[in-house]
Structures are given as C-alpha cells and as structure tokens.
C-alpha cells in the first residue's frame, strides 16, 4: 500500500467509505472553531515588557490574560481556568514581571507539581526576561540545583521556581536562609492547580498553610495566582488549597480550531462473553494509519506498562529504518534534555508519534499535535479534555479518537457520549482535615516556628494537638509557647506523594558487578507489581523480579526477554471500628465510619502478549498490609430465597461494576477508593458492600458516597442491563464462566434490593 500523506479531512472521508470503520465508530462529535477574544495591553504596562511582547508579535492580550493582570495588580488572589495552549503563562508572568520592574525588592514563588515542569517554564520565562532586557533573576530550586548557586538563589532570586516537595522539605524548614524571599514575597503562583487533589492535594494544602504562616512571620502577605485545567470547582479548590479567598477567571479568550471526536469501539470477537478486541491492538492499528498518513499523533495510555507495550508495537513500523526516531515513548521520569529533544522533533517533524502516560496531561510544552488517541477513558472528564486539548494547533483542525476498552466505565462512556460533552467536569477535592495529614504538617509547622498558646494553624484550633505532641516528647511547652525539642527532622519523614511512606527500591542486577537502582514504587503497588517472578517493564525493557526483600524494601530484578506479562490478585479483609453516621434506604442500611483493612497479595497470573492468554500462575508470599481508613457501607438482610454461593457471585459482580463506576461520582482515580463485598460482614453478620478510601485516615471520598448510594445502584443496574453481552463480561460485571448465570443473578439481585427500597 502506498503511504500517501493525507490531511485529517481526507482521512475522515476515507474512513466514512469503509464499512468496517463505520461499524466501529459509534459516535462522531464536532466542536466548531472559535475566534480569539482580544483586548488592549494595559496602559500602565512597563515599557520593557511591552517591548518583550512586541518581539513575540503580541500587541494585544486575550481577555483572560488582561483580567489576570488587573486582578494581580490589585493584589487580589485569583484562579484562571486555562485549557491547553491558551497562553496561560502570561497570566502570571506579566503581573509578576511588572511588579518586579516597579520594585526590585519584590519576590515571587512559582510552584509546579513536578520538577520537570518548573524546568520547562524556566526557559520560557528566561526568554521573556531576555527580550525585556531587564536584570531580573529567576531560578529553579530543586534537588538538582547545584550547591554553588543555592545561596545566590536564596538571597538574590526575584523569581524562584520550585515544587511542593522541595518547598516542604528543602525550603520551609530552612526559612531563615530565605529571609529576602519571605520578607518580600508578593506573589505565589500555583500552576496546574487541578493536579492538587486527593491525598497529594491535601498535603500541599498544608504546605501552603505553612508557607503563609512563615510569610506572616516575616511580614509579607502574598497574593495567589492559580491556573487550572477545566474542572467543576476551580475556585473552591483554590480557596481550600490556599486558605485564601479567590476571584475566578472562567472565560477563555484564546482561539481554537475545529475538533472532531470519534468514539471507537473495538469489534466483539466473542459474542457469548461479550469480549471485544484489545483496545491496545486497535490503537496500534489506528495509530499506524495516522502514521502512514503522516499526521502527527499523540497516544495516551493509562499505565507505564501500556505505554511501553504500545511503543514496542509501534516501533515495529520503523524497524527497517536505521536510527529512526519518529516514534517515541514519553512518561514520568524523562530528563529535561530528552524532553527538549522530543519537543524539537515534533516541531521539525522528525517525530510523528508520541506515546505517553498522563504525564503529558500536565502543561509540559511539547507543542500541539494534529491528532490524539485515548486508549481507554482516562477516568474523568477533566483528564479527557486535557488529553483532547493536546490535539489542535491554534487554528487547525484536530482529530480526537477515543478507543474504548472492555471495562464497564469505558463501555458506559461509548454508549453515553453526552456524558462527556454535556455534563460538567468533575470536582477536584482535597481533605486537609485528614487527621494524619494534619498532624504530620502540624509537626513540621512547629519545627519551623514555635506555636503560641491560642494561636491558630490556618483554620485549625490546635492547642489540644500541641499538648498531645508534648506528651509524645516532640514538643516542649515553655512559658506560653510550644517549642520543637527533638533531634529529628519531621519533613524528611513525610512524603507528599504516596500513601505508604516507604517506597520499594528497584535494583537491576543483570550484571552482578554493576547493580544499579532503576526506579522505585510505593509499597501498596509493589505488592502486586514487584512480587517475586513478576515481570516489571521499564523503558520498554522486561525485567523479572528475582527477589523481593520486603524488610529492606528492595526488589532485585534481572533483564529477561519473555512473551508474557504478569497480573496479581489482592485479597482484602475488613472490619468496622466505629460507626459515625447512619441512614436507611427502605430496608437497606447505610453506614459511615472507621474501618481497618488487611490486604494480602495472593496469586499472580502470566498473560501472553498479543493473545492475552493465561499461561501460568503462582502464589505470592508477602505479609499483609494494614490500613485504617474511613468507609461507607450498605447492608441488608440475608435474602431467604438466595443460596450463599449465588449471593457471593452476585455481590462480586455488583462490586466489580461499582468499582468501575466510582470515578463517575468522585473525581478520583480508581486506585483512590475500593469496593469490597462481604456476604457476612463481621460487625453485623449481614451481607454488605464497603466503599473505602485507600489512604490512612481517609480523604473524604467514601464520605461522599454515603449520600450517593441510590444513584450508584441505579447506574449499576441500568449499565449491566443494557450491556449487549449474554452472561456478563468485563464491560459490566467482570468475566464469567461459559455456563454461568452471573448476569441474571446480578440483575435479579439488584432488582431485589431496589425493590426493597420501593416497598417502603
């Protein structure tokens, strides 16, 4: 076949003529192009800034950029909703540079969720400063900053760009070295606000509270500038995160080209089981067509493993060409130089296709591409729009293809496209009230500055907690102040990123004389991904885990070349510790409170690439992990007419579907909450479903489900009922036996409990 260059329109027309494609594309949606909303530059804009903008051909601002400038100059904290490619960085660069040009003592702190983003933005900012021909010093400050220039950054940096982790453990505990920053801090820029959600966001909320406390000590009252992708509650999130009132800039003035969305469902290859062809293989084929038509494409996959698999598949297109770099992988952990190379490759066209994890949802500037393929629904509307936003250069047409996987959530989306286009994106929630997180940061705050009797820590009244820390021998109360009095350094024991604080280090021992560390992983994930005999993929290379030293938290791996990957099961035991809230829905009882779970990795399976056959299995020997968290549960009387076996099967199926639906209600990753069915819950001796937060102390997610049970059950029912499979499939209640009655059981079970509700 001749690989002719085509544009998006030509390719779409061609697909319209193909029967096969017509069957698989279940829905097409177009969003028309949008004009730019431009306004004048502010009249008081510093001449040097004006000059810098002129050099970039800018003589007008988008409406939202101007609004941002005006708020900032009035010292009003604000949050701007800025989709990809809307010129968001000028929302903060302009007011910050203007203020520094007006007063050279002024300082600004930029926070980016990752080190990489800070380094990306630094080059952008430095270019702008260079064009203004003013002496303004901006630096990144992170683990990579050379010791030699650290002092200069602390004393002389007008703009310091860092990440929350560095602020938490490298800056705040040493604030006396940053006097000139904290005394003169005028702006705190929080970029990518929407990424600060869940546990991580709750931690960062406290880091910012500690930051403000230190600013007040030194007499500064900084203004917050936040930018966020589209979420439902940007202002609420910003206010909760920063404990400061915000204005909202919701209208975006940037132009956009026409966008075409295709909803692509892989063909059913086993009608009885409702099994569809693997989404990854479909994505590979679609990407190949785009590649051959020379349409620059970004492919999103949910996990690092899938990225690596897709890169491997795609690279087979170029094996015959030497030094062909036209297909590249991209995921967290790439060096700035590698990213520069990818960025450059995309600009000059040597790179045609990038496969990425959601790392690229973040504002890493790799420029805009023509097409985007989503391998599966990313889990929430906001992420879907972020990914879709990667396609579409300013005024050009863009193509976005959503390829559904077999999971319940993915199939729901493809049957209900309006969910994506008509409902508002999810809320991003944080829960600074989590007592464990609160206490962790209270310790850090007490380390940073002594607390006075009656003094509040942000919105919290804390005298009782400080007394407790005194009893624990961490603080000493002297006169009316609590002083830190311990030789430990609390910030080092507290990680903002991961639930379990101790990570497992992955050591490559392929060459025994040259063992090297190639990565790390949190404890919970390690149970199912780094058990002995697991196949661990890293940079497209397969490693087998030879030994997992759980005591020392080290996994030893050796490079291998096999045709399968591994997948492990996690069994969860659970008991209720206290019940804080209850209500009833007909005959159903709903509760909320604290629970303790015990997770044990049980067995793993070996699954062949390509066919995804199960080709072997083995046991996993690891100690169980304990988790004390909050949970909501739904319980009911044991139905008389049901055999226990049938009940177990039905409840397992329901829990499977629920697990996939939770992200529809909460903007959370599937891994943040978990659903577990119990035929005889230990605390009441009745059947129950538990939904719990997978973080010690909870992060407020299950508490919200407490109010949403009716809606959740309803959704589960209608989805399972409308699924085209016969006996139940991975898209609804999970894979079932050939002879099974699984689906029927689940439906009658759900009818039974919803009927119970109606009886009332």
């Amino acid at each position: 076949m001749l690989n002719k260059k085509k544009n998006i329109q030509e390719l779409l027309e061609e697909w319209q003529r193909t029967k096969e494609m017509q069957d698989r594309i279940e829905y097409v949606h177009t969003i028309p192009a949008k004009q730019a909303d431009l306004v004048k530059l502010p009249s008081n804009l510093h001449p040097s800034l004006k000059k810098a903008l002129e050099k970039r051909g800018i003589d007008q601002l988008y409406a939202h950029q101007r609004q941002a400038f005006d708020y900032a100059m009035k010292n009003e904290s604000f949050t701007a909703v800025t989709p990809t490619a809307s010129g968001k960085s000028l929302c903060y660069h302009l007011p910050v540079l203007q203020s520094i040009m007006e007063d050279r003592t002024a300082r600004a702190l930029y926070l980016f969720p990752t080190k990489a983003l800070a380094q990306d933005q630094k080059s952008d900012l430095n270019k702008l400063i260079e064009d203004s021909e003013e002496e303004i010093l901006s630096y990144t400050y992170d683990g990579d900053t050379a010791p030699g220039i650290r002092q200069k950054v602390r004393k002389a940096g007008h703009i310091v760009m860092t990440n929350p982790d560095m602020l938490h453990s490298g800056i705040l505990p040493h604030h006396t070295k940053w006097v000139s920053l904290f005394e003169n801090l005028q702006y705190i820029v929080v970029d990518e606000l929407h990424t600060y959600k869940g546990v991580f966001g709750s931690h960062v909320a406290h880091v910012l509270r500690r930051l403000l406390r230190i600013c007040h000590f030194y007499g500064s009252h900084p203004t917050f500038i936040c930018t966020s992708a589209t979420i439902k509650n940007p202002r609420e999130l910003a206010e909760n995160l920063t404990n400061t009132e915000h204005k909202l800039i919701a209208k975006n003035g940037a132009p956009a080209g026409k966008k075409t969305f295709l909803f692509y469902n892989p063909p059913i290859i086993h009608p009885t089981f409702g099994v569809r062809r693997s989404a990854i293989l479909e994505v590979r084929d679609l990407a190949r067509e785009l590649y051959n038509a020379r349409i620059q494409t970004i492919i999103f996959a949910k996990s690092r493993v899938r990225v690596e698999m897709l890169v491997t598949y795609m690279k087979s297109l170029t094996v015959k060409k030497i030094h062909d770099e036209s297909i590249r992988g991209y995921r967290g952990g790439y060096l700035p130089s590698e990213r520069r190379a990818i960025e450059k490759g995309l600009r000059d066209g040597t790179i045609q296709c990038v496969v990425s994890t959601n790392a690229l949802e973040l504002g890493v500037d790799i420029g805009q591409l023509q097409a985007c393929i989503m391998t599966g629904y990313p889990g929430n509307i906001a992420s879907a729009w972020q990914q879709a936003g990667r396609a579409g250069r300013r005024q050009d047409d863009a193509l976005i293809i959503y390829v559904a996987q077999s999971t319940a959530l993915d199939q729901y989306i493809i049957k209900n496209p309006s969910y994506l286009f008509e409902s508002s994106p999810e809320e991003a929630r944080i829960y600074p009230e989590n007592i464990l997180i609160l206490m962790d940061h209270l310790k850090c705050a007490a380390f940073e500055l002594p607390f006075q009797e009656g003094e509040k820590y942000a919105e919290f009244e804390i005298d009782d907690f400080l007394d407790y820390l005194c009893e624990e021998g961490i603080l000493v109360k002297s006169s009316d102040k609590w002083h830190w009095m311990s030789d430990s350094f609390p910030a080092h024991d507290i990680s903002l990123r991961s639930a379990s604080q101790e990570n497992v280090v992955i050591i490559d021992q392929t060459i025994p004389a040259h063992t090297k560390v190639i990565g790390e992983m949190d404890r919970y994930s390690a149970m199912t991904l780094l058990h002995e005999e697991a196949i661990y993929l890293h940079q497209g290379i397969q490693y087998q885990v030879e030994k997992l030293d759980w005591e020392e938290k080290k996994a030893y791996v050796t490079e291998v070349d096999v045709d399968y990957f591994t997948d492990a099961n996690l069994a969860v035991e659970l008991k209720v510790i206290s019940e804080d809230k209850e209500r009833t829905i007909g005959h159903l009882q709903v509760g909320f409170g604290d629970i303790m779970t015990l997770a044990t990795a049980t067995i793993f399976k070996k699954i062949r690439f390509g066919t995804h056959d199960n080709i072997g299995s083995g046991p996993i020997h690891l100690p169980p992990e304990e988790l004390h968290t909050s949970s909501t549960w739904l319980s009911f009387d044991q139905p008389e007419s049901w055999k226990e076996d049938d009940l177990t099967n039905a409840m397992t199926g329901v829990a499977y579907a629920m697990n996939s639906f939770i992200p529809l209600f909460l903007q959370s990753d599937i891994s943040d909450v978990h659903v577990v069915p119990q035929v005889k819950a230990t605390h009441i001796g009745k059947p129950a479903f538990f939904v719990y937060d997978r973080y010690p102390g909870g992060i407020g997610l299950s508490e919200r489900v407490f109010d949403l049970w009716e809606e959740l059950i309803e959704h589960v029912y209608s989805h399972v009922a409308s699924c085209p499979c016969k006996n139940g499939c991975p898209s609804c209640i999970g894979a079932q036996d050939l002879e099974g009655e699984g689906k029927k059981q689940v439906l009658s079970f759900l009818q039974m409990i919803t009927h119970a509700e109606m009886d009332d």
Binding site: V179, E448, F460
Partner: protein, 419 residues
C-alpha cells in the same frame, strides 16, 4: 496501640474556625524563670539576667601554665610569635591583638529551624589566662536572652572552631534571624575553621577527622568519661523536663574538652605550618607543602616539599615529587619540574600516573622540543588509560580523544622538524 491509631482516635478533636487570625504585634514579654532555676544554681550554674530573660553560665578560669595533653595552653603565645615572624604567612595566622575566641556549640538536632543551640561554649584568651564561658539555654523561651548574652553579635571578633563554618555558625545565624525583631544583627566575623586545616594537614594520614581522634593521635590527650556528642540533644531535653542538671554537666565537660583541644590543635598546626615541628610523617609534610602551593606560595611550598624529597626514601617521597613538580612548573622551572615528575611516576596511583605522563609529554613538546620523547610519554599515558578500571566509559573516551589528538599533533611536528 500504634502511633497511627492513636492519632486517628483524635479525629473528633478537630476544631475549625474561619475567623482570620488577626496579627498581634505584641511587644517583647520577658518569660518567667524555669521552675528548676534553684536546682541548677545549686549544681554550680550561675543565673544571669538581661532585658530578654535569663541564661545560665558556668565560668572556668585556666592559667597559662595549664597542661592539656602534650601542650600548655600558654603555648598559644608562642604560636602568635611564630606568625609574627616575617617569613611566616598563612590564612590561619593570628596575632595576640586579635579579639580571639574559641567557639563550640551543642544543639538539639542537626539542621533546620527546629534545631536550637542550647550551649554556647566560648573560650576567651588573655595574657592573664584563659576564661571559659559556657552559656546554657535556660529554657527554649529564654533563647533571646541566651543569644544576646553570648556577645557574639559584637563586631571584630575572630572565631576559631572545628567544623564551625558548616555547622555552628550557620546555626547561630538561623537563631539570630528568628529573633531579628529583638536582637542586634549578627555581623560576619573572621572565622578559622580548624576542621579544614586538619583535613589539609592529615589527609591520608588520619583515617577520620574526628576531634577526639586528633587529640589521641596528635595532641597527646585522652578523654576520660566523655559522653558521646550525639547524646547531647536527649540529655538537654531530659534536663529541662526533669529539672535535673547532672547529665547536662557532662555535656558541659564534653564541650570544655572540645574547646581546650581546639587551642592545642591550633598550637600544633601552627608549629607544623611554621616548620618548627620536625617530627611528622612524610605524608603530613607533603600535605603541608601542597597546601602552600595551592595558596600560590610556591617558594614556601617547594621548600617544605624538598624537605621530604631530601629526608625520606624515594618511595615515601613520591608524592612530594609529584606536587613539587607542579609547583616548579608554576615557577617556570621546567627542567626541575620534568625531573620531579620522572621521580614521582613509579610511586603514583594510575590516575596520577596518567596526569604525570601527560605533563611530561607537555614539557617535552613545548619546552624541551623533544617530540620523540613526548610521543613516548603520550603512548605511556595511553597504555595507562587502557588499564584503568575505575574510570567510567564517557570520561575514558574523552581522555582517549585528547591523547590521540596530542599524538597526532606530535607526529606532525616530528615530521615537520625532522627526528
């Protein structure tokens, strides 16, 4: 119950209020005396009061004849005399007119703003004798008084410390910054850190640079009943909680030993640097010669190194030759440098050998114009590089390129100028 579960029990205690914490600008309130003040006074500490509160002081006087290890404290005046001689010049030199204090702290931790200094040990020098002033933080809330009383904010002092540049002084700066509202600014003081000096002098001679090890091996002093420094934070914490100062006095002893040894260490270092001490190993003298060289005092440096090359056998003098060669080169004495490199080569490790061969090749090429010989050393360098295991691949490759570049150029020159 685990820590985590205990904390989770407190969930119900969370209280929030939205009222903005108004900023109180309270004037300095003098904290009250700790309850154990009398007990600590009974133990021999003196209560001192100033406008910020109180601080405990233990003051001890030492006559100049006090013996500490192999030295008398009064030997310090000998050291001043040595430095006053016109031939002796070095960054650590001091005169009797300097406002000299030996300084050492004990702290509640290792770093960060949560670490407090609880003991300021200050040893002052005068013709009449030494005065040791040990200020003890009465309680965390009396920190302002504690810092003020140290007088370290008075300008024009010269501090002598052990690791003070990285530890004690930055800690002190942190504490002064926290109280900048009430306290005078802490000015930069002249500061001699003897840890740096010890490293220069005893590199490859002492295995560790702990002060106690130097005391035992070089200063003839052995501590008896000393508490290890890492226990100091716990002991202080216990003292202010229990009110019992007994163990704390042990910490004061520890601090006293540190300061007295600092004086004798300074005396010993001066003797070595001013060449009035002959009884040292070739390694140490070589180190000193190299130090002078690094300070661009090649004349003195060469003289010290030549002492090694004259007095010790060629094996022990290998490194002295090596460093001497560089200093000769800096002085443009190329023939001498060449000779020294040749003498050094057999006794060097491979990476230094590589450097020496290249240096020899350079002198052959640029000074002696002996391209044949230069090529010979370039090949020697190549072979040495080949055998090196320790270097990583990139660096090795880079070096290879450099060497082959040199070889090429040499061959060209050789053919141009005839053999």
């Amino acid at each position: 119950m685990s820590y985590e579960n205990k904390i989770l029990q407190m969930k119900k205690m969370i209280k929030k209020s939205s009222s903005k914490a108004e900023e109180k600008k309270t004037p300095f309130a003098k904290p009250s005396d700790p309850a154990y003040t009398k007990d600590w006074e009974m133990a021999g500490l003196k209560r001192i009061e100033n406008q910020f509160g109180m601080v405990f002081l233990l003051e001890t006087h030492y006559p100049l004849e006090t013996k500490h290890g192999d030295f008398l404290l009064g030997d310090l005046y000998n050291a001043f005399r040595l430095w006053s001689m016109p031939d002796n010049s070095h960054p650590i030199e001091l005169t009797k007119d300097d406002q000299l204090i030996f300084y050492d702290t004990e702290t509640t931790g290792l770093r960060g703003v949560g670490t407090q200094i609880f003991l300021n040990g200050i040893l002052e020098v005068s013709q009449a004798g030494f005065i040791l002033k040990q200020y003890v933080l009465a309680e965390p809330s009396h920190e302002t008084a504690f810092l003020y009383e140290s007088k370290l904010w008075e300008p024009n002092k010269t501090l002598v410390t052990y690791n003070g540049k990285s530890f004690d002084w930055p800690q002190l700066q942190t504490r002064f910054t926290l109280h900048k509202k009430d306290l005078p600014n802490l000015p930069e003081q002249r500061h001699i850190d003897l840890l740096h000096g010890s490293k220069r002098i005893w590199k490859n001679d002492l295995s560790r640079m702990k002060l106690t090890q130097i005391e035992e091996e070089k200063l003839g002093f052995k501590r008896v009943g000393d508490i290890p420094g890492y226990l100091a934070p716990i002991i202080y914490l216990d003292a202010i909680k229990s009110g019992n100062p007994d163990a704390l006095l042990k910490v004061l002893d520890h601090n006293k030993y540190d300061l007295l040894s600092l004086v004798t260490l300074y005396i010993h270092a001066t003797n070595l640097l001013c060449e009035s001490e002959e009884d040292e190993s070739s390694t140490t003298i070589t180190n000193i010669g190299k130090w002078y060289g690094d300070l661009s005092d090649y004349e003195k440096g060469s003289r010290v190194l030549e002492k090694v090359t004259n007095q010790f056998n060629s094996n022990e003098a290998g490194y002295a030759h090596y460093h001497l060669a560089f200093q000769r080169k800096k002085q443009h004495l190329y023939e001498e440098a060449y000779q020294s490199f040749m003498n050094a080569v057999p006794f060097l490790n491979e990476s230094e050998q590589l450097i020496a061969y290249i240096e020899l090749a350079k002198i052959d090429e640029h000074r002696r114009k002996d391209y044949q010989s230069a090529l010979y050393y370039a090949y020697k360098a190549e072979r040495t590089l080949n055998n090196m295991q320790s270097l990583d691949r990139d660096k090795k490759l880079k070096k290879f390129n450099e060497i082959s570049h040199r070889q090429l150029r040499l061959k060209k020159k050789q053919s141009l100028h005839g053999k």
